[in-house]
Symmetry: C2
Subunit: 197 residues, 2 copies
Amino acid sequence: MSSTRDIDKLIEMMARLPGLGPRSARRAVLQMIRKRGQLLAPLADQMAKVAASARECLNCGNIGTEDVCDICLSEKRATGEICVVQDVSDLWAMERGGAFSGRYHVLGGTLSALDDIGPEDIRIPQLVARINNEGVTEVILALNATVDGQTTAHYIADQLEGRVRITSLAQGVPIGGELDYLDDGTISAALKARRSI
Amino acid sequence: MSSTRDIDKLIEMMARLPGLGPRSARRAVLQMIRKRGQLLAPLADQMAKVAASARECLNCGNIGTEDVCDICLSEKRATGEICVVQDVSDLWAMERGGAFSGRYHVLGGTLSALDDIGPEDIRIPQLVARINNEGVTEVILALNATVDGQTTAHYIADQLEGRVRITSLAQGVPIGGELDYLDDGTISAALKARRSI
């Protein structure tokens, strides 16, 4: 149908986004068209704006609209602590937690022999360079508790050994978690790391 | 954070779409920014295009990019049958089924005393006018099997009584449906409408 070709194409493009399939893309597009004045046109503008200005921070790899991100520029955050994360989504998760006041380093992936991803591909040399340049005293490895994440953490710890304090996030029972629903690995990690009250 | 304000605003706008919440909007935006060349910029263009051109068909209420939609313009579909649906999404669902070759009439809602929605608000006068103008012989009421949907179906049937043949979609066991999982109302409707094989 020629008159709906543009709409069909929009649905197809929306369906490619993570979390949306053809069905939910149809619903979303129909809703946007119904409210095209308040919803579709402003959303198109905002997307064009972000598409033109979004870029990776040259220093830490965070996503922003400037060459160097606000976190790297902020004097308040020059605490000598760098938190190493795998992805920007992890950085955002840490920021929502609000407990960390230092700077970040986004790797953009993990080491993987299978996928032929080496240290140069995930910004590890840049991390090593920052240790000297920024007077870093502690590197906090906040990598995922997967095999690749932990391999990467070990590699980084080896590279930086003796130059800074290296820590990683504690493993244990999540807040609000019920023991009955936790896997065995988490329970034994929590037991090993038990603390006196 | 000033450098991510545009990105935060985009996430907030995406989170308003049906089927997306703050979490999935963040994931979608991050994915779009990662592939901003192939995904974000073309999507912004396509949205702007649809925002500028999308409109309701003046005849049937379908959504398209012209004043009168392809279905209304197609000579092949002038079969004398009009299928009355509540929403454009229902029209799309009927078209995906591919079993109907006539034209449609989209009400854009149902009669509702509570919400103060009367016949003029849901294009019923336009439907009555089309019966004469288009040489309609049959009106198929494909409205939802809800109280409001059925009230609207009864009202339309009353208005058109004696002028055209009025039918509604059959009620019964869905294809692939298991009796054990069907509600009592569907089973008794299917039993009442049983057919000899």
